[in-house]
């Protein structure tokens, strides 16, 4: 079987804009799930609201498209009632970190056995480009017309301190690494967060000089620095180039988890 067999072809093409990174992330997720040999009937995809959260609607398995920010609460419910099911959550930065922020930290704390894939495009895409907790400083959005002056949530760092068992970050350019990270997340008992930086050419790119899709993906590639390299630079006291974000596996550990099948 191939990852393409998991798609509901009658639903394709997706409603996503030209060059939206969400499609790439779904490809990688389905590839990981398919490589592990999971069955459709044993796998549930859960999401909240947002462009990213439309992902389960394109997949053949059972799924829950829930209320905004509450995907993790629904997913926890599934895990407690049916620990035998594999639960994978698709969410956006607004869905996970803004309205769903509390569910996020407490799901990490409880370490519920699920894999959460957050498509972080730095903005509320679906509602037309409002700033989110991950909007970079200085970025133009409809709610920050003079440039955002707020600090930024580092979702991966947040998940690490809140207690998740596995946390990794990649971008929509790093398809191979991302697929491998998702696979590790799926295999790790307990809570796993895979943060994927993706392009949203429509709501974010258009306002922030990243209108061209290929250029944006290249921007993601050029501004990603491997965690190991970052640590080495810090250790050697060398300057870390500005505007860079770290990618790689931040943690893999074995804290007691909830909802793991006996």
């Amino acid at each position: 079987m191939s990852f393409r067999d998991w798609y509901r072809i009658d639903r394709l093409p997706t409603i996503y804009c030209v060059g939206c990174g969400n499609g790439t992330v779904i490809n990688c997720t389905l590839h990981a799930v398919d490589t592990l040999g999971w069955k459709w009937e044993e796998t549930v995809f859960v999401s909240g609201i947002g462009c990213s959260s439309r992902a389960p609607g394109y997949i053949k398995t059972d799924s829950l498209h829930t209320t905004h920010g509450r995907a993790l609460a629904f997913a926890t419910g599934i895990k407690l009632a049916r620990p035998d099911l594999h639960v994978v959550v698709f969410t956006g930065d607004g869905d996970l970190a803004a309205i769903g922020g509390n569910h996020f930290i407490h799901s990490c704390r409880r370490n519920v056995d699920m894999t959460v894939i957050c498509m972080n495009n730095w903005i509320y895409g679906m509602t037309g480009g409002q700033g989110s907790p991950t909007t970079p400083r200085g970025a133009i959005t409809t709610t920050t017309p003079y440039g955002s002056g707020e600090g930024v949530f580092d979702l991966s760092a947040l998940a690490v301190v809140a207690g998740a068992n596995h946390v990794a970050r990649w971008t929509s350019y790093h398809v191979k690494e991302l697929t491998r990270a998702i696979q590790t997340g799926l295999e790790t008992p307990g809570f796993s967060l895979i943060e994927v930086l993706t392009q949203c050419p429509t709501a974010y790119g258009r306002r922030n000089k990243l209108r061209d899709v290929a250029e944006t993906v290249e921007y993601l590639k050029d501004h990603a620095i491997l965690l190991q390299k970052y640590n080495r630079l810090v250790q050697e006291g060398k300057p870390v180039p500005e505007d860079m974000f770290t990618v790689g596996e931040f943690i893999r550990r074995n804290r007691p988890a909830m909802g793991v099948p006996p």
């Binding site: 191939s2 393409r4 798609y7 394709l12 093409p13 997706t14 996503y16 030209v18 060059g19 939206c20 990174g21 969400n22 499609g23 790439t24 490809n27 990688c28 590839h31 929509s172 350019y173 398809v175 191979k176 697929t179 899709v213 290929a214 993906v217 290249e218």
Partner: protein
Amino acid sequence: MKLVIDSDRCKGCNLCMLVCPYRIFKEGKDQNERGIIIPELDRPERCPNCRLQRLYGRTVCGLCQMICPDQAIRWDDEKENEPQKVVIEF
């Protein structure tokens, strides 16, 4: 097998052009009936997948297929009697 772009799904984002190590995808020129400019294929038989996919029982490289946000890239079997082009480039 041969590499094809599904013109019903492709939205013309050109991400495939960005990742292919063989530069098989070239910027398209003409709009299709949906107004989308689909990339052109430059000697697609150079893609190692065309020849090795069956032999190895897995996708080789496959970067374009993975990054394509619209699931538009696939490898089809040649029709009977269709000439098979096999080119290997190192």
